[in-house]
């Protein structure tokens, strides 16, 4: 089971390593969004610093839509999805494998974006452990819902427009919780970031459970 999960993750990451789609397109996209937010929010440093957490996680959500679309495209081209199922891999293993692959890629983009907000938004890190823990947990949340909805819209003709309207509202609590945890980690606001991390964990568990239960059905029937 774990070996199968790793097999799927490894496959997706290897495809990414060979094609460099995320690296060549998603990373520049993320940085462009950050820079544009900089223009939109004025040259006022106080405003920028106060908005940093929200801007950071909103950018992550936009990037996630692109990453999930890419992850879904890999499976629907050349009937790869059917091949994976015929190969005898459990749908649950495919679900966790793909979630992990998206999470690892998003995490990489987030690390670059942390550099981006330090550089452009003048952010200072008050607590690295909280910052990294938030990135890990929130990224898992985004990837878990994203992989589920990615499989769900895979065979919908209007997939590119339907995915964001389904995914973004579901991720609203992730945006709220991760932004608040970041506010604490960046020392912008006096809140307890670790409590917010607990809420993120609850979201991750609930949505990954639903994904585990529904993914097989979606792969076979939808």
């Amino acid at each position: 089971m774990l070996a199968d999960v790793w097999l799927v993750t490894n496959k997706d990451l290897r495809i990414e390593w060979r094609s460099r789609v995320t690296f060549n397109q998603v990373v520049p996209f993320a940085l462009i969004v950050l820079v544009l937010f900089g223009f939109a929010l004025d040259t006022n440093r106080a405003v920028l610093r106060a908005a940093t957490s929200g801007v950071f996680w909103l950018t992550v959500l936009f990037v996630a839509v692109v990453a999930v679309t890419r992850s879904t495209m890999i499976e629907i081209s050349d009937g790869a999805r059917r091949a994976l199922l015929l190969g005898g891999i459990e749908p649950v293993a495919i679900y966790f494998g793909k979630t992990l692959a998206i999470a690892i890629q998003l995490f990489g983009v987030e690390l670059l974006m942390v550099g981006g907000v330090i550089f452009f938004f003048d952010a200072t890190i008050a607590s690295w452990p909280l910052l990294l823990a938030t990135c890990v947990v929130a990224t898992w949340c985004v990837a878990a819902s994203g992989t589920l909805l990615g499989a769900l819209v895979a065979n919908v003709a209007a997939r590119d427009t339907v995915l964001p309207i389904l995914l973004l509202p579901v991720l609203a609590p992730v945006l709220i919780a991760a932004s608040r945890a970041f506010d604490d980690a960046l020392g912008v606001l006096v809140v307890d970031g670790w409590v917010w991390l607990g809420l993120l964990a609850a979201f991750g568990i609930v949505n990954a459970t639903l994904g585990t239960l529904a993914y097989g059905t979606l792969l076979e029937e939808a």
Binding site: S145, L148, L149, L152, V153, N155, V156, A157, A158, V162, I165, L166, L168, P169, V170, A172, P173, I176, A177, R180, V195, W196, L199, A202, F203, V206, N207, L210, A214, T217, L218, E221, A222
Partner: protein, 255 residues
Amino acid sequence: MKNIATSVDAATTKSRATQILGFVVLFGVLALILLGFFAAPEDDEQRDAVRMIFVHVPSAFLTYAAFSVTAAGSLMWLWKRSRWWDIVAHSAAEIGVIFCGLTLFTGSVWGRPTWNTYWDWGDVRLVTTLILFLMMVGYLALRAAGGEENAVATRAAVVGLLAAVNIPIINRSVEWWANRTLHQRSSLTDGNLEDLTLFTLVVGIVVWVLFFVWAMIHRFRIGWLEHQLRDIELQAAIAGRRAETANDPTGGSLP
């Protein structure tokens, strides 16, 4: 079995029962207007603005009732694969989105004179309901995007359940995020409503529930007819294909 629908009119989705129900709803609305505007007393603080409660609270109640039906229907589709439950889920979602939109609208209009603002990001129920609205609009968009009938039903069912399981988390996150609420705790359980106000509110909820039942029956029948039409089209396509192979001199291999 005698077809009740055709006993009234050959080509509608109405039946004797829905006609009677429809009239009851109409009279209920008239009664609600009279009670709400003339019989119920004004509030000490809100004055007459309190009369918005009679449309706002029933809509909010029906929003959550309708989406609960959608969640139940989604679960039942995934469990039993019965077209009946799939159509129930779809019908309830469509009617629920209308109620949800009305809840947000009447709440905003009511909020302007009483809270002094149309919208407040700090209010838990307001923001939770908005996110629910957006998710269910996505649900309907997914349905409208079309595809093979069973695949659409399965996709929609998963989204319906996804919305339902995330509501408590959204509610919690907004509550912590804003940490304040403008809403009264709960208008019904507080016990500080005037008797006649409470009575009118109950009438409002009953009328809205009856309208919901009326709309559900009609909307369900539309869903059922759409299902039958797809079936007829499929049969015609199969028949056409058979006719094609029958005329094929090389001898088609279709059974």
